[in-house]
Subunit: 259 residues, 4 copies
Amino acid sequence: MLKIGDLVFLYHSERAKYLITVQEKGSFSTHKGNIPFSELREKDFGDMIKTHMGFPFHILKPTLADLSMKVHRTTTIVYPKDAGLMMLKSFVFPGARVIETGTGSGALTTILATYVQPNGKVYSYEARSEFSDNAKANIKKLGLSDFVEFFVRDVEKQGFDQKDVDAVFIDLPEPWIAVKHAYDALKGGHSLVSLSPNTEQIRKTKAVMELEGFVRIQVLEILERELLVRITGTRPAERMISHTAYLIFAQKGKKPTAE
Amino acid sequence: MLKIGDLVFLYHSERAKYLITVQEKGSFSTHKGNIPFSELREKDFGDMIKTHMGFPFHILKPTLADLSMKVHRTTTIVYPKDAGLMMLKSFVFPGARVIETGTGSGALTTILATYVQPNGKVYSYEARSEFSDNAKANIKKLGLSDFVEFFVRDVEKQGFDQKDVDAVFIDLPEPWIAVKHAYDALKGGHSLVSLSPNTEQIRKTKAVMELEGFVRIQVLEILERELLVRITGTRPAERMISHTAYLIFAQKGKKPTAE
Amino acid sequence: MLKIGDLVFLYHSERAKYLITVQEKGSFSTHKGNIPFSELREKDFGDMIKTHMGFPFHILKPTLADLSMKVHRTTTIVYPKDAGLMMLKSFVFPGARVIETGTGSGALTTILATYVQPNGKVYSYEARSEFSDNAKANIKKLGLSDFVEFFVRDVEKQGFDQKDVDAVFIDLPEPWIAVKHAYDALKGGHSLVSLSPNTEQIRKTKAVMELEGFVRIQVLEILERELLVRITGTRPAERMISHTAYLIFAQKGKKPTAE
Amino acid sequence: MLKIGDLVFLYHSERAKYLITVQEKGSFSTHKGNIPFSELREKDFGDMIKTHMGFPFHILKPTLADLSMKVHRTTTIVYPKDAGLMMLKSFVFPGARVIETGTGSGALTTILATYVQPNGKVYSYEARSEFSDNAKANIKKLGLSDFVEFFVRDVEKQGFDQKDVDAVFIDLPEPWIAVKHAYDALKGGHSLVSLSPNTEQIRKTKAVMELEGFVRIQVLEILERELLVRITGTRPAERMISHTAYLIFAQKGKKPTAE
């Protein structure tokens, strides 16, 4: 049976779906009708519940993609299609210590915190305290606060406090300002990932990475396309998200020398 | 300093890169020259080493994408671009219990085992014992054996042994044969992911998923495109991998009734 | 100087652009203000004109893509990204005789008629007279009536009247019904192009093409992606049209025999 | 019956296909065996012919895409997927007068010359005489010499000889050098198309276009993806050409003034 505080994904259709937290009292309102929390608490994941107007909703477990996409947003966020590859092409695993900057709305923080459990830690740096506060509230709501430490800081001037971390993630308008600090914070041979929407940002960031001693630098873009499988036929969806960001992957090597 | 048994990614360039295990004796041969293991063991991750012909190689930590792509292959494997999204849109996390079938070469097994550490488990089912044996050897080499249990079995006839698992992954030529068993093994509201190259496989699998009580079914395809950032200019690579597989994501709901 | 009846593309921005025909009297209304036709007729292509509210519009020559996209639509239409390749991979040239079915809204008809001038002809077949009438009006407005002959007909039962045509284009919900007739109408070795949104339509059409004696059958899909080049940076547009139709290209060979 | 000089596309399979010119004597050699021209001349388009080893080849009419892709190459060429859209989004039609620079290998020249027949003309400028000579030979072989005038010239310094042309096409490493000349040569409101592989080229060319008075500037990229329709299933091809060039489309408006 669902408990107060449980995160639940209520699903009627792609146009009527909600990520909610189970409450003690009251009811959840949708444009398909209301669902009293008292009724919801008698159900379990996988059950179905009907609104007072009779529309059925499936009670689903929210995926990590759902949780990260549904954080309260004060900024643009990292998309699951991008975040998935970022995890595999870096060193995020149970027990890892990783840095991200900026915190933004905490979408990537959510994903990182989930994977570094139970012994690892995410060190999340953000210049604007209002963003950091919002992200902190998002992470708390998801029960992940034990795995994240937040810092409000001008990273360019002050750098990072940690050494020998397993991975660094940069999501800043001027990513190059954090590259040297990322180098100093990383374990040898470990990875830095930066993402930016524009080719000019990528170009400058890559140049600074090379100067600072990063190697095996690769820039990728991930496109996600939906296939519609219907009674009437199978075909790709008519529209798609074409671009979110370019991803730069790099690993800490030796600084180039004049030799 | 590197130790015997460490996995190392030796990187000279995109055309000369190797995933190796540090040995006690002998040397590693590349077409750029040899690297004696005794010399390598005096280095650390992030250092550089030169072959006897003078070519420099960076000593990098292999990413999870490297490890999964470099398993000894007896079958086609799941690509990182696909596996990344599969992780985020299902329930794979430290402590999770997940099922996959078939084991194949163990590329996905590698990824799953990494993320379910230290208390979770991957139950990996495969019909052909020679595939299972190869994958088991791959997983052992990566030091992940504690987190995987292998089964050689005809899943269609015998199903899975586990109940209440967090996620099921199907990578079979006829994925629909395992859908009912996946339903029985999953926790309510949790997720099933299946991947197939052909639209006909997807269509049939989706139909069976609907009949068996899976909901929120979505079919996606992930395209990875490289951006070349060179002195001479910035542009997408001329060629790309256009298609590996379609991914179906679904969650366990209530079976449809005649009501 | 512009004349009555001239087709003009008025362009203020991507959000305010209009394909209009120059009239004798009155004025053209936009949400940026009005432009009197008497004033417009004192201008020429390439000039600028201001609305009564002071917004500037460029007076541009409409491209063939503009003309085909702006036909009065009663149906979905063929997009320029698809039509362009369809021209090059078939035999549409000044003097060519080509068949299309169905006529639809006349978007493809517009393109075909433009290229077969001054001695060729488009034979355009459509089952529904209201569609044919609308397309005929569209073609007349564009001054291309001399190059198109319209037929209202059930092609499946009655076939085409022409023989030895240079190319046949099929845009029907059940394209396979016209394949045999296309074979009979085409010159040897010449080309048939069919387009359909769904893979099932493509599969069946291709199978019928093979049975009827078409060879060198190829299925392609064209994706058009916009690159935004702005002061703030260069990047692909966030959204794109992902799918309009699959295109099948084939050429008339010898019917397969039991030999 | 085929005649000496006819262009024929011999098609056995995607791996054995040839564009040839019918000769008086001798035979054409393929790795599937030889085909004597005397035998070929007794056939017609759409017929089948067997090599001395018994392999069947279909005798097909080469499409415009075939002709342009098979020109003797001394340079990279414009691909049909790009050229098709370039035709529709500019003013190339029977009777049009159009300029291109550089001539390159004559692939685009072939397409332009085909469509401007019988009264139009392509003015093709190239800095290097050896490229121009090769392209001239290609065009002659295709029987299109009456529709093309070749110029060997440094366009940056000397500009174009024509005025009031319907369209200008630029395919140069430094496209911006020809933009002002294109403006001077074009009819008002008519179109300029430029193509370049790199974003930096696009950025600079677009900036110069804006300064010179071009409007409605749009940058597009065309991706062509093959769908494999086989007995075993339907799926996109595993690999695709990801990038050839970005296309800039613009139309001649009024030069921006200080007003």
